[in-house]
Each structure stands twice: as structure tokens, then as C-alpha cells.
Amino acid sequence: MNEVQLPQKRKFPTGLAVLTALVVLGLIPVVIRYIYGLGAMSHLSDGRPWGLWISFDLYCGVALAAGGFTLAGAVYVFRLEKFHSVARPAVLTAFLGYTLVILALLVDLGQPWFIWHIFVSPNIHSPLFEVGICVVSYTAVLALEFSPAVFEKFNWHVPLKVVRAIQIPLVILGVCLSTLHQSSLGSMLLISQTNLHALWYTPILPLLFLNSAIAVGPAMVMFESTLTGKALGHKVSHEIMEGLGKAIPVILGIYLVLKIAGMGMNHSLGLIFTAYPYNLYWWAEIIIGIITPIVLFTNKSFRKSDTCLFWGAAIVVLGLILNRFNVSMFALAMRPGYSYFPSWMEFAISAGLVADSMLVIWLAYRLLPMMQHEPGQAAAPGTTAR
């Protein structure tokens, strides 16, 4: 059953070749790093100990993987069945996002082979401890959430039954873990009180992080499924796109209110006019990531077109990336006398990891029953939780 092989409408050997080249290119710096140390291939320094990998792979990676828990929650907890067909791709994207985070940390950490220390000598008060534990457990949860696709492919009935039996608790656990670590990424920055610019530093940073992750979840699903749809020749229904698009301005509206309120609490609202040049970053983030999408997505005629919806989602994603880079790089003070711009090898590693994920997504669409709403499919897998 469920032998859904997507019709091979388009070949893109060039795309595959580029992705493979990126993966290989990304491996070179890894070798250098393990022989000569981080200083030999990155521009990280004592003045800027966290760079591109933390900002992009960790901060953006985790947030952009939020589609996994928002969609799984919407479909399995709130039973919004119309989004069912994108739940599985969303979970896969999330799983790959978290794998990417872990792989990036294997490069970024000084001694990744001791990562298990986090289990044996934990400091439970550390926000990073919480992030670490949640990322590891949530990756496992995502693997289990996605596993039916693999079991179905190979007709493994027994594990399929087991996973389906625990599906709802699993999804709820995933939502809990996501809530915790999406917000804890904000808590992590609370400790850098003296280093993070007052435009972004507020005690409710964890709440803002959670809220923006929930907002970007649906946007990322729209963005990603449209792209894979284009590349692989299937189509996401307009109803789904519009449904997701409708949710975005609501969540972003709450986010905007919270963000302003947080700055009010901190008495830093005046800085948006005075703190040049940082206020430009702030305005860019607010206008691109919040105000524009709210205006666009509340417009009915805008929501009619899938192309518009796609670009709207892209803007939300861009805004989130800007926000995460602001708080974890641009507005996080360096020690005096240092400067930082990522080396090409830092870029190569991040690009290689993204290419990895894209290759796996491509393979998954080729080999696994991904789109549960494809016609010709009888009992849709994973739809029932007994």
C-alpha cells in the first residue's frame, strides 16, 4: 500500500549537482577545524565567541523548524484536518532543521565528543542546558512523529501500530518541548544583560521568542512546501495556503503588542528614534517581519493568489531571520578591540548543512509517502489515533 511515487515531471540534475557540491565544500572546513582548531577556519575570537553558526544554524534553524510543532499541534491536538496533508512535510522539515542544529554544534562546540556531559553533570539553572536537553529530546520526538512515513513505505505493521498508538501523547510532548526551548533561546540572551542592546533586551524575551517562532511556523510551511512543490511537480492546495496565511497576522499582531509592551517595561521605547544605527536594524525587523506581513495577509485579494501568499510567507521568514541575527549578532556587543565577519569556511559549513537538508527532503519526496492527500491513496496514514 501507499506506494506513492510522484510522477517524475522534471529532472534537475543541475540542482542536485549544486547541492552535492555544497555538501562536499562544507566538509573541507570541518576537516581543517578538527586538525587545527576553530581559529584556523573561522573568524571567531575571544571578542566574538559566537558567530554565524549560532546565529544562523542555531537561532534561525530552531525557529524556522517551528512549523513542526505548530502544524502537528494544529492537526493532531486542535484537529484542524484541512492542514493534514502538510503536517508530514512540516515534521520532516523540522526534524531536518534540528538535525542541522546538532550537526552545526558538532563543528561549533570546542569538544563535541563530550556533549554527553550535559546529561551526567547538568547545571539545571542554565538556559543552555534546557535548550540542549529539549533539542535532543525533541529531535527524537520528531523522528518518531515522522517514522510512520518510513514504516508505511516498508509495510512494517507492528512499529506502525505502536507509533500510531502513542501519536497524540507524542505530539503533545513535542509541543511542550518546543514551547520550552523556543522560549529558552530567549532566556539564554537574558543573561547577556550587559552585552545585548537595550532595544532588544527585555525580561519577556523568552515569550517573544516563542511567539515569533509560532508565527514563522506556518510561514515556513507555506514557503517550503511551495518550493518543494515547484521542484518536484506537485501542488499544495490553495485552501491550505490561505488557511495558514490567515493565521499569520493574528499571531504577528500579538507579537507586535508584546514587543512594544516589553520595551515599555524596559523604558527603552525612546531608543527606536535615538539609538542610531541600531534603531535601523530594529525598524527593518519590525517593518519587514511584522508590519508588512500583517498588512499583506489581512488583505483578502492578496490571499487569493498563491504566488502572493508565497512571497508574503517569504517576508515573514526574512523578518524572523533578521530578528534572530539582530539579537544574537548585530546587537550583541563585542569586546572592545575586536571585529567579526564570518570567514568563507563558516559560510561553507552553514551552506553545506542546508544543502544536506535539501537533499534529504528531495530523497524523502522521491521515496516516501509524503503528501497524504495525493489521490489514489486509500487509508491515509497517520490520520487516525486509536
Binding site: R33, G37, G39, A40, S45, D46, G47, P49, W50, G73, Y76, V77, F78, R79, L80, K82, H84, S85, L109, G110, P112, F114, I115, H117, I118, S121, P122, N123, H125, S126, P127, L128, F129, E130, I168, I172, L173, C176, T179, L180, S184, G186, S187, M188, L190, I191, S192, T194, P203, L205, E239, L332, P336, G337, H373, P375, Q377, A379, T383, T384
Partner: protein, 268 residues
Amino acid sequence: MGVGVLYDATKCIGCRGCQVACKQWNQRKADQTSNTGSLENPPQMTAKTVTKIRFTELEYNGKFQTVFTKLQCMHCEHPACAEACPVAALQKRPEGPVTYDDNRCFGCRYCMVACPFGIPNFDWDTPIPWIRKCTFCFDRQSGGLKPACVTTCPTGALKYGNRDELLVEARARITAAPASYVDHIYGEKEVGGTSWLLLSPVPFDKVGLPKLQEEPVVINAERAMSMVPPVLVGVAALMTGFYWVSKRREQNGGKKNQKPEKQGAVKK
């Protein structure tokens, strides 16, 4: 209250004996540097140099002065690094020192991001790197010795002792010679107090020490972390509740949430 060190910049002659003694005791190699036109060397602290004397030339009170500042870990009373460290490699000892455990650290460098003084440094040039910072010679102190830098200081610019007593002494020195000092003991109240205390003839921001609040920097993070267990329970309960309600509504024949897809129904 634990031990501390009082550094008096008016007594320091910039000999940098403390730098050398520190390297000897902790077996830290020399940093490769080049001539920067100053006797201050190395220009920045590194994993190899965990203490150094900063030279600041400035005009203050109509007088040209060279002011020395000893830089090292301040050993905060509420250290951000120890709060940040996910594996408790950095710990505040009841005796006063903030120590570092090689056997726990896996090199995440969160301590470097968290520290308000910018102190912990990282071995960038080795495949097996550690964080390095002043440990207040905790090993020497455990054996009844003073820290290496204090032991070697030839002018008495460094004084080791009980932190409370040092604070009294620092206050007395300022009172006795108000013209020689600014009326500020750096480390008395900064980020909730530090074990190391500094006296200076010029304001501390003029020698490049950060102006810090009196509230410990860890407070907001601590508050956020204390909310984790209730949030976990709350979200779990809420989600289970939502599931129960939506499931019931579905079973009661409500089709509110269910619209068949165009391509074919999802549900059986």
C-alpha cells in the same frame, strides 16, 4: 563571606610580575605579539594570558597620568558564567573563587557571551580547546597559599584577605587620602559584588572597565528558568484539554473543523 583581593592602582608600578607569576604557576605559554608602541603586552587577554596589567595614559584633574589596571576574572558573587554553563564546569565556591573544571567543559563558550567583564577566553588554535580564565589560584588557596600574583607583587598593590575586611580597608584608604582616589570601590556593588576589588586614582570607565548596574545580571534569566516547570505542566495540561475538547466535538458529529480536501477526503 569569602576571600577577596584588593588591587590598589596607586601602588601598582606596572612591573607585570603578576602576569609572569600567573603564567608560571598555571603553566600558560607566551602569546606571540608584535610591537604596538606601548609597554602594555599582550594587547588583549587570551587563553594563555588570564591576567594582565593595562596601561592607560590620560589627562585627569589637569594632570597627565599613567594608570595601571590589573585585569583578571573578578570572581563575581553572582557569576553569570556559572549560571550560564550547561555542565556546571564553572562554579562559585563558598570560599569565593569561581573555578573551572576541565573535565566537564565541552566548549560551548556561553560563559564568554554571558560574562559582563568579558573575561573567559578560548583556545582558538588547538583541536582540543578549553576555556581559560583566572581561577583565583583555587589550587594554591586550598593548600593555604595566596594566589601567585599576590605572592609576587613587590609593592603591596595586591592585598589578599577576607572580602569584608578588604572593603573596610579600601574605604579607609579612600578616606585617608581622598585626593589620591576616586570615591568608588570597583567590585563592591558591580553586578551584585565581586571578590576582587579595585581602587583607582581616575574613574574606572576611563581605564576601560565597564560601567555596570548593581543588580546581578543573572536575575532575569533565573526568573525565566524558574518558570520552566510550571510552564511545562501548564502547556501539557492545556494541550491535553484542547485535544479532549476537539476530539469530543468531532465525535459529536460536529463538522466544524472538517472540510474535505479538494483532492480527496483525508479521513476515512
